[in-house]
């Protein structure tokens, strides 16, 4: 089976639903690590907070954003078989943030 | 991801439309007043021609400037004449204004001719004529503002 290829730039902003179809948040950041020659994905960061983390605004003196820690989804918990509709392989509650 | 900017611009368009409508609605001026307000550029051009003539006589501005200023003035005065003819203002305001505009255009052409021909007395005479027109225009506006 030819390895599936996913375009990260199209994945950004997609809504993620858990195994029961419940809306969990949007993919807004992806962390990765070097592993020998390669660079592999570690976690997907979901939810608006991730956007703020991506913009580097740590203290929220500006606009009264509720500062929620971004939802961290380990790589193996996200099913990317259909990149248009990424789904969690578990229920939202089972994710340990 | 819904783009924040397009949301913001549609809000702007909505409020903008309301504002334009409000601005137009509250203009309840009488046609006479409206004509005179729109005739402000006429007074401005008469004063400009007078100043240009004075400065030319004082060798402060080149002849080419007087020529092109007179041409620009004539263009705008011609447009003002057209608008005045079409306006529904009463003859008490419309006729003196139309006369003023045609005299101003004549004075402008005279000034242009005098400057190009380097005819200083002729230019001085046009400047005096323009000064008269200017006080005429001011009087017309005062009479109109005085009247209810």
């Amino acid at each position: 089976m030819k390895p599936a290829v996913v375009h990260l730039e199209l994945l950004v902003g997609r809504e993620v639903h858990d195994s029961e179809g419940k809306r969990v948040g949007r993919i807004l950041s992806v962390t990765a690590e070097r592993e020998g020659e390669d660079c592999v994905v570690r976690e997907y960061l979901l939810g608006p907070a991730a956007l703020l983390r991506r913009l580097g605004i740590t203290t929220l003196r500006l606009v009264g954003f509720r500062h929620r820690e971004p939802l961290r989804v380990p790589w193996d918990q996200l099913d990317l078989s259909d990149p248009e509709k990424p789904r969690l392989r578990c229920r939202a509650e089972e994710l340990t943030t | 991801m819904r783009n924040f900017f397009s949301l913001q611009s549609s809000v702007a368009r909505g409020c903008g439309a309301i504002l334009v409508f409000a601005a137009l609605a509250c203009q309840h001026k009488t046609p006479d007043q409206e004509l005179l307000d729109k005739a402000d550029p006429v007074g401005a051009w008469i004063a400009t021609l007078q100043m240009a003539g004075e400065k030319w006589l004082a060798n402060s501005v080149p002849t080419s400037f007087v020529k092109t200023t007179c041409e620009a003035a004539d263009e705008d005065l011609d447009q003002a004449a057209g608008e005045t003819a079409k306006s529904q203002a009463g003859p008490a305001v419309r006729d003196p204004l139309r006369q003023l505009i045609s005299q101003a255009r004549a004075a402008g052409k005279g000034l242009r001719r005098a400057a190009v021909a380097n005819d200083r007395p002729g230019a001085a005479q046009e400047v005096r004529r323009l000064a008269g027109l200017r006080s005429g225009f001011a009087a017309l506006k005062r009479r109109q503002e005085g009247a209810p």
Binding site: M1, P3, A4, V5, V6, H7, L8, E9, L10, L11, V12, L28, S29, V30, T31, A32, E33, R34, E35, E37, D38, C39, V40, V41, R42, R54, G56, W75, D76, L80 | -
Partner: protein, 127 residues
């Protein structure tokens, strides 16, 4: 850089070649999803067509058709210039550096064409 945020530190980042010549931006990033293993970064992509797809897939097809009809493909051979991740020398806050020479990559097709066909013919350019 050990741990990276692919979106903040790589995507849309300025791409430079071996001697720091600017050659475009990371318009796209390809992940290879493997069974039982974490997705691996396969390559980065550059090009207007890649950007178009980020806006709307139909835009990409329309641009592709436009490219062929106007013979643009003779200037820009490949619509999307794909660089294997192994060619990435360094990822730093300032740019993503590739171990390539910009001039002989497709990223510079337009630059080369304009230089040779337009700039060269401008009077006063002591070519």
């Amino acid at each position: 850089m050990k741990e990276m945020d692919l979106v903040r530190d790589v995507l849309d980042k300025q791409v430079v070649d071996r001697d720091e010549t600017k050659m475009g931006r990371v318009d796209g990033l390809l992940l290879e999803v493997r069974a039982g293993q974490p997705p691996r970064i396969d390559s980065i992509e550059m090009g207007f067509v890649v950007l178009a797809r980020r806006l709307h897939p139909r835009l990409e097809e329309w641009l592709e058709r436009l490219r062929r009809r106007f013979g643009v493909s003779s200037i820009r051979k490949t619509a999307r210039y794909r660089v294997p991740w192994s060619a990435v020398k360094d990822v730093n806050p300032y740019c993503v550096q590739l171990d390539v020479a910009a001039l002989d990559t497709p990223a510079f097709d337009w630059e080369r064409w304009l230089r040779d066909h337009v700039v060269a013919h401008v009077p006063g350019v002591d070519s």
